[in-house]
């Protein structure tokens, strides 16, 4: 095992799959950077450096810089996927889905169904999400519930460098369109990541903590906060199970329901806006399927129903944190 960052893990996954399969190509704004400009080639390697080094190794035919024209190149990636390539397109910030969403949800997501099972669309869309970067309302949203809502898409939320590499390799090898959410605050997080290739299957949740008292389901960066809260509460004698579903679509409902059946208490931690969110979705699931097992009302920990604020003073109030998770757990433990 080698310590690697979340950024390195994703880069390594892409590079190894590009070596393995010549049909894998990369495209996006500044993925190499400096295209047509007088300075260095591979000037940026992506706005936060995730694709650095790919163009020098694989060339301009396989690492394509694009104009700022998301509808055209995200759609081109979908069309290329349906005709024989395995593109990895970068939608720099998921907030930019607004200028290209048709190509994702009306086109790529529906080809297979609309065409009677005759289309295969092995497309990966990498995108940055999440608050905490002081990036304000149009560069900080989560929005993965919107993609999760669409049949035909798979939605991946890696919570660590190890998860990022295995899930990215799975995403590239997967024959369905996959939206791969990278939390921008996590790129410098480090963890053990094997040098060799490995895949993590979609739809199989990971239990990052195990305990009998309460089930905490958390997504993406929130898994780390939930782990932190669980470790702190352990000192107070509360044993929490933390479930990282890894993918919101497909969703491992069985692991969640089994855990709630044992603990009888559920807290869902979701960085997305609270309405029609994963928090709402998991709550609905458990209320419908495991109501009798519940010893206390379900609690959700989410941001408020507001845009992401800019000022650090406000953004810190906005994003869920371990203290709020502890409060929610204490509330469900108190009810009885």
């Amino acid at each position: 095992m080698t310590k690697k960052t979340y950024r390195q893990a994703i880069n390594e996954a892409i590079a190894s799959e590009m070596r393995r399969d010549h049909r894998v190509i990369v495209m996006g704004e500044d993925n190499a950077g400096g295209m047509g400009a007088p300075g260095e080639d591979d000037a940026w390697g992506g706005v936060l450096g995730v694709t650095k080094g790919l163009q020098p190794e694989f060339g301009r035919d396989r690492v394509l810089d694009t104009p700022i024209s998301e509808s055209a190149f995200i759609g081109a990636a979908a069309g290329a996927a349906a005709t024989g390539l395995r593109p990895i397109a970068e939608l720099m910030f998921v907030d930019f889905m607004g200028v290209c969403f048709d190509q994702i949800f009306n086109q790529a997501a529906k080809f297979r169904y609309m065409f009677g099972g005759k289309a295969v669309t092995p497309l990966v869309i990498r995108t940055m999400y999440g608050a905490g970067f002081r990036a304000a309302s149009q560069h900080s949203q989560c929005l993965y519930p919107i993609f999760t809502h669409i049949p035909g898409l798979k939605v991946v939320l890696p919570s660590s460098p190890y998860e990022a590499k295995g899930l990215m390799i799975q995403a590239i090898r997967d024959d369905d369109p996959v939206i791969f959410f990278e939390h921008k605050v996590m790129y410098d997080d480090t963890g053990d990541v094997p040098d060799e290739s490995y895949t993590i299957p979609f739809g199989e949740a990971n239990l990052t903590r195990e305990g009998d008292d309460v089930t905490i389901v958390a997504f993406g960066r929130m898994v780390n906060f939930a782990n932190q809260a669980a470790d702190e509460m352990k000192r107070d004698g509360i044993a929490a199970t933390v479930i990282d579903p890894r993918t919101t679509s497909p969703l491992d409902t069985e692991t969640i329901l089994d855990s709630v059946a044992e603990t009888g208490r559920l807290v869902v931690v979701d960085e997305a806006h609270p309405r029609c969110s994963m928090a709402a979705d998991i709550s609905r699931l458990v209320a419908e399927e495991a109501f009798d097992a519940l010893k206390a009302p379900i609690k959700t920990v989410t941001p408020p129903h507001s845009p992401v604020p800019f000022s650090p003073a406000l953004e810190d109030l906005y994003v869920p944190n371990p203290a709020r998770i502890r409060e929610a757990v204490q509330a469900v433990m108190a009810a009885n």
Partner: protein, 321 residues
């Protein structure tokens, strides 16, 4: 005209197949046999066939909501198309797509499209595949005058140009985006827009198969040789409404009758080839009779095919889930 008899008969057959197919869908829809809604291509046949007669299976097209003509021109099976429009289980898309989503990737038909302007970005991708895999293929995006105003289309002009993709954008300007005149809705001109993106372009009479065919030849050859994208502005009009049931109150008095009388692409084709002594009327009449049988058979087969069942509802959402 330097065309073989075989080519001329085949081109006429494809155009007439589109016309009879659409006329029949019009009748059957009016009779309540076809669910949903349909947008008919009758009147525009010379465009689809004029362009697609340059194409092979390795070449990919993307179509519009008015897609039946492009499907037939690209070689989709007429019987399977009819079943699809009837929503039947052995339709070309197993009854899950319907009129607006007919596709057959094995024929290079990347789909009709319910989203106006949905196709051009996809076609850039198909062209990228052809270029990257060096198949020698080209890709054609058909859009209407309505679609020509979508940002997706204009973005695709730019992407195709800077990536030097083997794309032909065919703007089928039938005069109306739904009920709104293209003379009002299109700023500048289609060829002027192409020039703005550094693309060669041409404007042709879309009722004249030979005009379309000749203009498209240069563009397809250029794309195949790595010369990049171009744009063909095809001026034509549709015989029917935007959708079936459209009362066409936006059209002028006698407009459609005049159109059918003076601008029928089949009559124009027939007039040209018989006047030049290349084909005889009776040869074209035989083709018409064969097509009548083909369409009759397609409707009978569609009417008797089974509907999809509950077991089909959730298949093919994903390859694996």
């Amino acid at each position: 005209m330097q065309h073989s008899r075989e080519f001329l008969l085949d081109s006429y057959r494809r155009m007439a197949t589109i016309r009879r197919f659409e006329d029949r869908v019009h009748d059957e829809f009016a009779g309540g046999k076809i669910p949903g809604f349909v947008h008919l291509y009758a009147g525009e046949e010379a465009s689809a066939v004029g362009v697609c007669s340059h194409l092979e299976n390795r070449d990919v097209i993307a179509s519009t909501h008015r897609g039946h003509g492009h499907c037939i021109a690209k070689g989709c099976d007429v019987g399977d198309m009819m079943k699809e429009i009837y929503g039947r289980r052995s339709g070309l898309c197993s009854g899950k797509g319907g009129s607006m989503h007919i596709a057959d990737l094995s024929k290079g038909m990347l789909g009709a499209n319910g989203i106006v302007g949905g196709g051009p970005p996809l076609i850039c991708g198909a062209a990228l595949t052809a270029k990257y895999l060096k198949t020698g293929g080209v890709a054609v995006a058909f859009v209407g005058d309505g679609g020509s105003n979508q940002g997706t289309t204009l973005e695709s002009y730019n992407l195709a140009k800077i990536w030097n993709l083997p794309v032909i954008f065919v703007v089928e300007d039938n005069g109306y985006a739904e009920s709104t005149a293209s003379a009002w809705s299109v700023g500048g001109s289609q060829t002027g827009r192409a020039a703005g993106f550094g693309m060669p372009s041409a404007e042709v009479d879309g009722f004249d198969f030979f005009a379309v065919h000749d203009a498209a030849r240069d563009m397809v050859e250029r794309a195949r040789k790595g010369g990049g994208p171009s744009l063909l502005h095809v001026k034509l009009m549709r015989f029917y409404g935007h959708f079936e049931g459209d009362a066409m109150t936006y059209r002028g008095p006698g407009e459609v009758a005049r159109l059918r009388e003076e601008k029928d692409s089949l009559k124009i084709f027939r007039g040209k080839v018989t006047a030049a002594g290349l084909l005889q009327d009776h040869e074209l009449d035989i083709v018409e009779e064969e097509i009548t049988d083909l369409i009759d058979g397609a409707v009978r087969a569609a009417e008797t095919d089974v509907f999809p069942t509950a077991a089909d509802l959730l298949t093919d959402v994903y390859v694996r889930y």
